[in-house]
Structures are given as structure tokens and as C-alpha cells.
């Protein structure tokens, strides 16, 4: 293992995976440093979601290396283990527990023991209560804490899910299209929220909304056909002729 692996938080090298002959990822290499906020763009089918599936243990790569926190081999772990290691994932479609209240959603996500008996005999401590309240405040949901998650608007569900990920206290947060279906005001708020979150942990955002990425003002990676096409600032990437051809259109 070289120096690069041990310093980075997430390290993907030469990762390939194919489904029924279709190469979803083609020798993808990608590094995220601790505390970094990174945006990923790319056309449909570029492998953005597959990459997240690989990192979170949902899909196993055919070849290549995936290391977390220096030397933890993620290809040998399953979803629950990877989540407990500190990788949180937000789905494209907001996925919250609809028949639970907003409060319970956060409580379930809180980074506590996850076993059957630990949860069976769990009692809410003052410390946990304060933490939940703090998270509700961060994602601006305090007023709705007793409402069922099913009754939230689309944008609010997205925030609740981000709140749940915060409660999980991950070192790395993978966020799949957080502003899809949001109003402009909500989008701007979400950009602020993500930047706030990225102060204490690494965040990888997959997004189509170029305005939103510009708001974030971070390093951008453009994927196409399962590998990295270009990497750099948004202006650098969006002026790259390959990116224009593959993704942005002429």
C-alpha cells in the first residue's frame, strides 16, 4: 500500500464491475481526502450510483481495490458493517421511515449499539435527547418533530434523511441527488446545509444540477462510461472538451 492509500479517507483503484456484460464501472480510480466536499457529475449510466453501491457494500466489484480510512478493505464488508464503520448514504429518492415520527427517525439513526438486545432494552438518555434535538435544529425540523415522516413535503423528507445521516455520525457521507425535486429556495438552503456538514466530515455529492454545484464551489469529478473523465474546479471541468461532448452538450 502506498502513501496515497493511507492518507486518504476513501481510495478506489481500478474498480470494474459489469452487469450482464454491461460495464457499469471501467477501471475507476477515485480518492477522497478527509474533510473534503466533492461533487460528482456525469450523464445517466456513467456509473455514479454503481460507485456508491460499491462503496456501501451493496455491490461487489469484479476487480479493483476499495479502501476506507487507509487500510479497511470495503470489498470484504457488508452494508451494515460499512455503515457502522462510518459511511452514510443518502438515496436518490428520499428514503425515511414513513410510519415513524420525525423524532423516531432520528432516534433510530443515532449512532448507538445496533444489536437486537441493545435496541430491545434501549432507553432514551438525556445525552441522546440533546443530540437528537441538536440534529433536528441543524436540519430545521424541530417544529415538526412529532409529525409522521409520511406527512412531510418532498424537500423536508430529503432534509430529514440528511439529519438521519448526521445522527449516524459518519466520517464519509455519500449523497445521491439531494436537490432533485426541490424548489430553488430549498436548493440554496441544502447547499448551505451540506457545506456546514462538510466542515466536520467528508461528503461526496452526486448531482445533475450545475447551479447547485456552482453554489457548493468544490472540486468536481466528471464520470462517463464508468471511469473518470475529468477532475478539477467546476470551471475547469465544464470547459473540458471531453466533458462538453459527453455530458454538457455543445
Amino acid at each position: 500500500m502506498d502513501a496515497k492509500t493511507s492518507r486518504s479517507l476513501l481510495y478506489l483503484d481500478g474498480v470494474s464491475v459489469s452487469f450482464d456484460g454491461f460495464k457499469a464501472l471501467n477501471s475507476l480510480s477515485f480518492v477522497v481526502e478527509p474533510g473534503e466536499l466533492r461533487a460528482i457529475i456525469g450523464p445517466n449510466g456513467a456509473g455514479k450510483t454503481t460507485m456508491m453501491d460499491i462503496i456501501t457494500g451493496k455491490t461487489r466489484p469484479d476487480s479493483g481495490q476499495v479502501f476506507f480510512n487507509g487500510d479497511i478493505d470495503l470489498t470484504r464488508k457488508d452494508e451494515a458493517e460499512i455503515a457502522q464503520l462510518g459511511i452514510g448514504r443518502k438515496f436518490q429518492k428520499p428514503t425515511v421511515f414513513e410510519s415513524h415520527t420525525v423524532w423516531d427517525n432520528i432516534e433510530l439513526a443515532l449512532n448507538r449499539k445496533r444489536g437486537v438486545f441493545a435496541t430491545l432494552f434501549y432507553r432514551l438518555t438525556a445525552e441522546d435527547k440533546a443530540r437528537i434535538e441538536e440534529i433536528l435544529e441543524t436540519v430545521r425540523m424541530t417544529a415538526r418533530k412529532d409529525d409522521l415522516a409520511a406527512n412531510l413535503s418532498h424537500g423536508q423528507k430529503q432534509w430529514l434523511e440528511i439529519g438521519m445521516l448526521l445522527a449516524q455520525e459518519p466520517k464519509l457521507l455519500l449523497v445521491d441527488e439531494p436537490v432533485a425535486g426541490m424548489t430553488d429556495a430549498e436548493t440554496a438552503e441544502t447547499a448551505i446545509l451540506l457545506k456546514e456538514i462538510a466542515r466536520t466530515r467528508s461528503v461526496v455529492v452526486v448531482e445533475h444540477d450545475m447551479g447547485f454545484i456552482r453554489d457548493l464551489g468544490v472540486k468536481v469529478t466528471c464520470l462517463a462510461e464508468g471511469s473518470v473523465l475529468a477532475e478539477g474546479s467546476i470551471d475547469f471541468v465544464s470547459s473540458d472538451p471531453k466533458v462538453i461532448e459527453n455530458y454538457l452538450g455543445r
Partner: protein
């Protein structure tokens, strides 16, 4: 820690239901034994085991509700756990017959003598002790559920596929128990019981006590279930039901969560079966019939899944209906049952209790919304006024 978990955080309606069940546990035997025949309040002797049977079914439906209503595992094989518990109890009752059987063999039950067996199979050892049999009532269904669940949940078999293999499981057991070589009485099953713990199973006092025991078991199971579903673990279960992948990506081991509740539920079903057998006086492979397990699903759906109380009400109501219907128009019962299921699915998808609960909840919600809207309107009116007031001088300019 366990007592704390059991005795806290119950909803009021659960406590009411428990109180009612315990009241029945006391009143039905009293009304049967103490109130003279002919009095309006007398419960006739033949009704006691019938009511006891309903409560066994209620316990079975409650067990199914834990896995189906709260964890989304539609088990179509819960009748198997019920029957296994029943067989464990039946084996104890068979051993109690002793030399009073037709062949008067002190060791072997009649059917083994009939098959020319000379010694008791090893798996019948110990069943002459009640405590051992009681342990097996829990262990056998629990172990089957654990092993079955271990493979099914680890391989992430869900939805309709899981339902089909649970159905296959109970069917396989049905075929196995039909075989004489299995040593469980084959086609005829186990019957002609004499006593339980030294009391005659046919006696009025024993039947009244069995009814009371069933009601108490149901009440305890309801308390336990309520404690489970109200705990954080219960919330995780609902999470698994509604968004399994979210639960997994939060770091919960979904397979362990499912395995625990599936095993607990199977043990509960086993207890129901064990209480059922001495009251109806027979256990045979017919209890493994796939249709039985499907009926349990219907009771649960009619009462309202995911409500705990609903399945109890559903099981009692549907079986009460069945008793009346099969006496009056025996050939139409299955049609009626089918129609009931279709009607429930179409018109009462939440079941009886679920629909009432939802109605009450929407009314409460509506009141809250009305109040909020009123407050908002008042505030808006006030702010509009102040804005108008601040606009006026500009208009004058």
C-alpha cells in the same frame, strides 16, 4: 432491565385489552362452575373449550401480527409452529395415558403397539414429564423458526418468495407427519387423552382451568408483544417493514432483527398450539395444512395487522362466525371466508381495529390542523394589518 422493559410504555388500549382478557379468564370459569345451570349467566360446559379454542387462535394471530404486521414478513406457515407446539403437548398427554390405552401397554402409545413397535423411539423420551414437554413446546417451534429464518433471512429471501417457502415448509411437515414411520400417530395423530398433570382433561374443572390458563397466556403475550413493538427494537422492525435498505444502510443487521422476532413469534404460536390440544382433545397432521396458515392471515387482516389488538379481535370474530356458519350452512363457509378476505382487502385494508384507529387519528389531526390554521389566519390578518398600516404613509406621499 427486563421487568422495566415489560412494565413501561404501554398504550392505554393495550392495558384495557389485557384487563378485559384477564376478566374473561376469571369470569368464564366462574360462570361455568359456580352459577347453576338454567341461570342466564351460566356458561354451559361445552362452550368453555370452544371459547378456549378461540383464544388459542387469538394467540396464534397475535404471534403472526408480530412478524407480518410489524416486520412485513408474511408467513404462510405459522400453522406449522402452532401444530408443533400442539404435538409436543400431545406427546405428553399420550404418555400420561399409560396402561389405560386399548392395548394396555404401559410404555407404548396405542398406535405404536398397533404398528408392532417394540420400544419407544428416542424422541419420545422425556415427554412423560410435563416440564420437559413444556420446554419442547417452546424449543421445537423456536428452533425450526431459528434455522429456517437463519437461512431465509441471510439469503435475503423476502416478499412473496418467503411466503411461498413458509407455505412449502408447513406442507412438507404435513406430508412428513402423515407417515406412520415418523412415529407421531400418522394420519390419526394423537388423541384419546386421559389426564393433564393428574387431572381428567374432560372434567369441567380442568376445562375451566385450561380456559383461564389460555386467557392468562394471551394476556401475557399481549404485554410482551406490546413491550417489544414499543421498544426501539420494535421501531427498527417497522423500519425494516417500510424501508429495509434504509435500515441496512443505517447499520442494522436486518437478518438478525427478523430472525429474533420470527423465533419469538414461532414460540408464541407453539404455546397457542400446546394450549389448544388438551381443549380440543386431538392433534393430527391436518393442523399443518397450508390452508390453516392462510386462515390465520385472514383473521389478522380482518382484525387489523400491526395493531396487536386487531388480530385478537379478528381471530375471535372470524372463528365465532365460522362456528355459527358451519352449523347453519356448512357448505358455504369457505365462500364466506373468501368473500370476507376480499371485502377486507377492498374496503378495510387496515382491518377493523386499524380503520377505527385511523379514523380517530384523522379526527385528532383535523382538530390540530384547524387550530393551527386558525392561529395562522389570525397571525396573517394581524401582520397584514400592520403592513397596511406601514404602507399608508407611503401611499400618502
Amino acid at each position: 432491565m427486563i421487568t422495566q422493559m415489560l412494565f413501561s410504555r404501554h398504550e392505554k388500549k393495550i392495558l384495557w385489552a389485557v384487563a378485559l382478557i384477564l376478566l374473561a379468564a376469571a369470569l368464564v370459569p366462574l360462570a361455568n362452575l359456580l352459577i347453576p345451570e338454567g341461570n342466564f349467566f351460566h356458561v354451559p360446559g361445552h362452550l368453555v373449550p370452544l371459547l378456549g379454542k378461540y383464544l388459542c387462535y387469538a394467540l396464534l394471530a397475535l404471534a403472526l401480527d408480530l412478524v407480518w404486521g410489524y416486520c412485513g414478513i408474511l408467513s404462510l406457515g405459522h400453522g406449522a409452529f402452532f401444530a408443533l407446539g400442539g404435538y409436543a403437548m400431545g406427546m405428553y398427554l399420550m404418555r400420561q395415558i399409560g396402561d389405560r390405552g386399548v392395548y394396555a401397554n404401559p410404555l407404548l402409545p396405542d398406535f405404536m403397539v398397533f404398528l408392532n413397535w417394540s420400544e419407544l423411539p428416542w424422541y419420545w423420551y422425556g415427554f412423560n414429564h410435563f416440564a420437559f414437554a413444556a420446554l419442547m413446546v417452546l424449543l421445537v417451534p423456536g428452533l425450526l423458526a431459528f434455522v429456517f429464518g437463519w437461512f431465509a433471512f441471510r439469503s435475503r429471501v423476502t416478499g412473496v418468495y418467503l411466503s411461498i417457502i413458509t407455505q412449502a415448509m408447513t406442507y412438507a411437515l404435513l406430508l412428513a407427519f402423515f407417515r406412520n414411520e415418523m412415529g407421531f400417530g400418522g394420519n390419526n395423530g394423537l388423541t384419546d387423552f386421559k389426564d393433564i398433570l393428574g387431572f381428567n382433561v374432560q372434567a369441567g374443572g380442568t376445562r375451566a382451568t385450561l380456559f383461564a390458563a389460555t386467557a392468562v397466556a394471551l394476556a401475557l403475550a399481549l404485554i410482551l408483544s406490546s413491550a417489544i413493538v414499543r421498544s426501539k427494537y420494535g421501531k427498527v422492525l417497522v423500519g425494516v417493514r417500510d424501508a429495509e435498505s434504509r435500515t441496512r444502510f443505517l447499520g442494522y443487521r436486518v437478518e438478525n432483527m427478523k430472525l429474533f422476532i420470527f423465533t419469538v413469534s414461532a414460540m408464541m404460536a407453539g404455546i397457542a398450539g400446546a394450549l389448544y390440544v388438551p381443549q380440543v382433545g386431538i392433534i393430527n397432521p391436518g393442523e399443518f395444512a397450508p390452508a390453516n396458515s392462510i386462515e390465520v392471515v385472514i383473521w389478522t387482516a380482518v382484525g387489523g395487522r400491526g395493531t396487536l389488538i386487531g388480530p385478537i379481535i379478528g381471530a375471535v370474530l372470524v372463528n365465532f362466525g365460522k362456528s355459527i356458519f358451519t352449523a347453519a350452512f356448512p357448505e358455504f363457509w369457505l365462500f364466506a371466508l373468501g368473500a370476507l378476505f376480499v371485502a377486507t382487502t377492498l374496503f378495510l385494508p387496515r382491518g377493523v381495529v386499524g380503520t377505527v384507529q385511523q379514523h380517530l387519528a384523522t379526527r385528532k389531526e383535523q382538530k390540530k390542523a384547524d387550530a393551527a390554521e386558525r392561529a395562522y389566519r389570525d397571525k396573517a390578518a394581524a401582520s397584514a394589518e400592520s403592513r397596511l398600516a406601514s404602507l399608508e404613509p407611503q401611499a400618502a406621499e
